[in-house]
Amino acid sequence: MTTASSADHPTRRDFLYVATGAVAAVGAAATVWPLVSQMNPDASTIAAGAPIEVDLTPIAEGQDIKVFWRGKPIYISHRTKKQIEEARKVPVASLPDPQSDESRVKAGHDQWLVVVGICTHLGCIPIAHEGAYDGFFCPCHGSVYDTSGRIRQGPAPSNLPVPPYTFVSDTKIQIG
C-alpha cells in the first residue's frame, strides 16, 4: 500500500504519476486564466475609451474647463501670460519632479495646459486656481501644483500627468 517509490530508482509508475499531475496542473492553471481575465475592462468599456475632440473656442484666457476622458477628469487651462511666465522662471532642477514647462505643453500652443486632474498622491481631484502657486490645490492632503501642473508642495510624488493629445486645428484638440 505504498504510493511513493524510492527516489533513487524512478519507475514507470513514477513517470505516470508525474505526468498525470503535470497535465492536471496545466489544466488548473489554464482554467484560472479566463477567471482572472474577465476582470479586465470589457470590450464596450475599451470602445468607450476612444479619443474625444474638444473645442477650445469657448475657453477665455485665464479660464479652464474640465472634460471627461476614460472616466478621468482632464483639466484644460487657457493660461495667462503671467501664469506661463511663473511656470517658466522657476529653475527646473529645484522641482521635486523636474520637468520643464515647455515639455508639458505643445510648441506654439504654450497658453494651453492639458493635464489629468487627478492628484498623484491618492487620486483626489485638485481644485484649479488655488494654492500658493496659482495652479492647483488638492484639498485631501494638501498637495500644491503650479501653473504647469507640477508638484511643488505636499505629499504627492509627481506632476499631474499630461494625457496624450494633439491639436487637430488651432482651436480644437483630440485627447487620446
Binding site: R13, L16, T20, A24, P34, L35, S37, D42, S44
Partner: protein, 690 residues
C-alpha cells in the same frame, strides 16, 4: 471525523497551528485516512462530481454577478453584454447555464443510486434527509437563477411558479404578493430573486458540510449494503477514492464540455432569447428539463390546491423513505423484486419528465395521471409491501467477500447502464423540444451552413453580403440593437478592418447629448455606437407596421426554433446540430405564397407564409430578386439574399462562435489526455489494493 486523529505535522509552524486549530488533522482524518469501502463502484463518484459542480456554480456565479445588472430594464441586456463584451464572458455564461443542468443530472444519478442501494436505511436516515433538503434548496436556487436573464421563459416561469403559492387556502394571494413585492412579477421580484439566488448556494454549501459530516459518522454505504467490519473491507480515502473520483470527474467534464462548447443552447429554451414581455405569454410554458417530472404531476391533477400539494408531496415523500421501506436488506442487488420495481420507477420518472414537456391535452393527461399514481404508489404502497413479502437473496458476509466473489466481467453491465442513462437523459433534455414540434407550420428544410459542426466558421463573403441585405432591406423595420459597429472589425466577424468599420459607422446618424446647452444633437456614428433602431419605441414601431412589432434581429437566429421531434433531437445531440434558428429564418424569408391555399382564411393585413407558425404573418414579402446589388458576382436571388442575411444574423446572435468552437477543440484534446492518464493512474493505484 472518524474518531480522534492521529495526524501530527512535523513542521514546527504547522505544529503550532495544529495545537490551536486542529484543521489539518480534521482534513487528514476526513479525506486522507478516512476508511472507504473497497467495493464502491463508479456510481459513488457522483458525490465528488456534485461537490465540484457546487464549486463551479458558486465560482462562475460570483463572477457573473460582477457583470450582471439585476434590473427589469437592464437584466436582459446585461446578460447579452456579458456574452458579447466581457473577456471570456460567453464561456463563463455557458459554464454556469449548462452547469445548472449538469448539477441536476448528477444529483438525480446520486439520488437514484441511494435509492437502489438503500443508502437511506438505518443508520443513514439523517444523511438522506439532509440530501433531500439540499435537493429542495437546489430546486429553489435553480428556479431563481433561471429568472435572472429576464427572457420570456424567465418571466413566465417566475409567474407560474410563484402562482403555485396562490393555491394555499386563505393566505394564498397574500403570500404571492409578498413573493412578488408588487402587483405582478416585476423589478422588485427580480431584485429579490437575484439576492436569494446569490444566498442559497452558500446555504447549500453549509448543508453539504452537514451531509458529509453525517456521511463520515455513519460511514459510506456500498453496493453490497453490508457494513465495513474489518480493515480488509476498506481502503484509505486517499489515494484510492481520490483518484477514482478524479477519474470520474474527468469523464463527467468531457460530457459537460460537450454542452459548454458545442451545444450551449441545447438545454435552453429559445423563448428565453426574447426579452421578458408581460403582455404576451409564450405558447408553451415549459420549465427546465430537471423540473419536468414534478411539473407533469402538477398538471395531472385537475384541482389547483391538490395539484400543488401533490407536486410538493412528490419531493417531500422522499424524506420519509427510510420509514416507508422497512426491508432489512439494503442493496437492491439482493432484492429480486425491489430491483425490478426500481427500474420501473426510473421509467415512471422519465415518462413523467417526457409528459411534462408535452401540451396538457388528450392522451398526455391520461398517461400523466397513471404515472402520477404509479409514482406515489411506489413509495406509499409498493416499498412498504415489498419489505413484508419479498424474500431477499443472501448478502455477502463482508465487503471483502463481495470483492472476492466478483472477479472480472463487472464492467459490462456498468457500461450498458451508463448508455441507458445517457439515452434517458437525452429523452428528458430533449423533452422540451417535442412540445414545440406540435406548434404547427411546415418543418423548414435543413440547410448546409458553413458555421455548423465542431469546426464550423462563418463565411466572410456571406456575412458581408448579409450585412448589405440587412442595411438595405431589413433595417427599415428591424433593429439590431446589441450589435456595435466596432463588432464588424472584431475577430470572428465579417472581416472588416477597423477603418472600414469606422467608415461604415460614420454613414449613420446617431443621437447624442445633451450638449453644453442641454440639447440633444445628431452626430456621425462612431465604432463604439450600436446600430440605431428604426423606431424610437415599440409604440411607434407598431403604429408604423399595422399593429405588429418587428422584432429586433440581434438574437433572432437563437430566439426562433422548431421542434425536431423524436428521435431526431437525440441524434442532434451527437451530430451537434444547432441550426434550427437559421434553418427557420432562411425558410421563412423564402416561404411566401402569393395565394393562400384554398380554404385558408387569411386575416386582413397578413400574408401567407409556409413556415410561420399559423401561416399568417404581418411582414410582407421582404425580398425579391435583384433588390440588392452584389458586387462580388454572387447571384442576386432571394435564395442567396436569405442565406446571406441569415449567416450575418447568426454571427450577430453569437459573435464569439468561432472562438467557442476553437477553444472547445483545445479543451477536448486536453480532457481526453487527462482522462486517459487518470485512468491508468487509477489502475496503478488500485493494483495495490488487490
Amino acid at each position: 471525523m472518524s474518531g480522534p486523529s492521529d495526524f501530527q505535522p512535523t513542521n514546527p509552524a504547522l505544529k503550532w497551528i495544529e495545537r490551536r486549530l486542529p484543521i489539518m488533522g480534521l482534513m487528514h482524518s476526513s479525506f486522507v485516512a478516512y476508511p472507504t469501502p473497497r467495493n464502491l463502484n463508479y456510481w459513488w463518484t457522483f458525490g465528488a462530481i456534485l461537490s465540484l459542480m457546487l464549486g463551479v456554480q458558486i465560482l462562475t456565479g460570483v463572477i457573473l454577478a460582477m457583470h450582471y445588472t439585476p434590473h427589469a430594464d437592464m437584466a436582459f441586456k446585461s446578460v447579452e453584454l456579458i456574452v458579447r463584451d466581457v473577456n471570456y464572458g460567453w464561456l463563463l455564461r455557458n459554464v454556469h447555464a449548462a452547469g445548472a443542468s449538469m448539477f441536476f443530472f448528477a444529483v438525480y444519478i446520486h439520488m437514484f443510486r441511494g435509492l437502489y442501494y438503500g443508502s437511506y436505511k438505518e443508520p443513514r436516515e439523517v444523511l438522506w434527509i439532509l440530501g433531500v433538503i439540499i435537493y429542495l434548496l437546489m430546486m429553489a436556487t435553480g428556479f431563481m437563477g433561471y429568472v435572472l436573464p429576464w427572457g420570456q421563459m424567465s418571466f413566465w416561469g417566475a409567474t407560474v411558479i410563484t402562482n403555485l403559492f396562490s393555491a394555499v387556502p386563505y393566505f394564498g394571494e397574500s403570500i404571492v404578493t409578498l413573493l412578488w413585492g408588487g402587483y405582478a412579477v416585476g423589478n422588485p421580484t427580480l431584485n429579490r430573486f437575484f439576492s436569494l439566488h446569490y444566498l442559497l448556494p452558500f446555504v447549500i454549501a453549509g448543508v453539504v458540510v452537514l451531509h458529509v459530516w453525517a456521511l463520515h459518522v455513519a460511514g459510506q454505504n456500498n453496493p453490497a449494503g453490508v457494513e465495513a467490519k474489518t480493515e480488509k473491507d476498506t481502503v484509505p480515502f486517499t489515494p484510492y477514492a481520490t483518484i477514482k473520483d478524479m477519474f470520474g470527474v474527468s469523464c463527467f467534464l468531457l460530457f459537460y464540455a460537450w454542452f459548454i462548447f458545442y451545444m450551449p443552447n441545447y438545454l435552453g429554451d429559445p423563448e428565453n432569447y426574447i426579452p421578458a414581455n408581460p403582455a404576451v405569454t409564450p405558447a408553451h410554458i415549459v420549465p427546465e428539463w430537471y423540473y419536468l417530472p414534478f411539473y407533469a404531476i402538477l398538471r395531472s391533477i385537475p384541482n389547483k390546491l391538490a395539484g400543488v400539494v401533490a407536486m410538493f408531496g412528490a419531493i417531500v415523500v422522499l424524506a420519509f423513505l427510510p420509514w416507508l421501506d422497512n426491508a432489512k436488506t439494503r442493496s437492491s442487488k439482493y432484492r429480486p423484486l425491489a430491483k425490478q420495481f426500481f427500474w420501473v420507477f426510473v421509467a415512471v420518472c422519465i415518462g413523467l419528465g417526457y409528459l411534462g414537456a408535452q401540451p396538457p391535452e388528450g392522451i398526455y393527461v391520461i398517461v400523466g395521471r397513471i404515472l402520477t399514481v404509479l409514482y406515489f404508489a411506489y413509495f406509499l404502497i409498493l416499498l412498504p409491501l415489498l419489505s413484508r413479502i419479498e424474500k431477499p437473496r443472501p448478502v455477502p458476509n463482508s465487503i471483502a467477500d463481495d470483492v472476492l466473489a466478483k472477479s472480472g466481467g463487472k464492467a459490462a453491465p456498468m457500461v450498458s447502464s451508463v448508455i441507458a442513462l445517457m439515452v434517458a437523459a437525452g429523452l428528458l433534455f430533449g423533452g422540451a423540444d417535442s412540445a414545440r414540434a406540435a406548434e404547427g407550420g411546415t418543418k423548414p428544410p435543413a440547410q448546409k451552413w458553413s458555421f455548423s459542426g465542431p469546426f464550423g466558421t462563418f463565411d466572410r463573403g456571406a456575412m458581408q453580403r448579409g450585412l448589405k441585405v440587412y442595411k438595405e432591406v431589413c433595417a427599415a423595420c428591424h433593429g439590431l440593437s446589441f450589435v456595435a459597429f466596432r463588432n464588424l472589425a472584431e475577430a470572428g466577424g465579417p472581416g472588416y478592418s477597423v477603418a472600414q468599420a469606422q467608415a461604415f459607422a460614420s454613414d449613420y446618424k446617431v443621437k447624442d447629448g445633451p450638449n453644453d446647452q442641454g440639447e440633444m444633437f445628431e452626430r456621425p456614428g462612431r465604432p463604439a455606437d450600436y446600430f440605431p433602431s428604426p423606431f424610437p419605441n415599440e409604440q411607434a414601431a407598431r403604429a408604423a407596421n399595422g399593429g405588429a412589432f418587428p422584432p429586433d434581429l440581434s438574437l433572432i437566429t437563437k430566439a426562433r426554433s422548431y421542434g425536431r421531434g423524436f428521435p431526431q433531437f437525440l441524434i442532434d445531440f451527437f451530430t451537434q446540430y444547432q441550426e434550427q434558428g437559421p434553418d427557420y429564418i432562411v425558410a421563412l424569408l423564402q416561404g411566401y405564397e402569393d395565394k393562400p391555399p384554398a380554404g385558408f382564411n387569411l386575416p386582413e393585413g397578413s400574408f401567407y407564409n409556409n413556415y410561420f407558425p399559423g401561416h399568417a404573418i404581418k411582414m410582407p414579402k421582404p425580398l425579391s430578386d435583384g433588390q440588392v446589388t452584389y458586387d462580388d458576382g454572387s447571384p442576386a436571388t432571394v435564395a442567396q439574399y436569405a442565406k446571406d442575411v441569415t449567416t450575418f444574423l447568426m454571427w450577430a446572435a453569437e459573435p464569439h462562435m468561432e472562438a467557442r468552437k476553437a477553444l472547445g477543440m483545445q479543451v477536448f484534446v486536453f480532457l481526453i489526455l487527462l482522462t486517459v492518464l487518470l485512468y491508468f493512474t487509477k489502475k496503478k493505484v488500485w493494483a495495490n489494493a488487490h
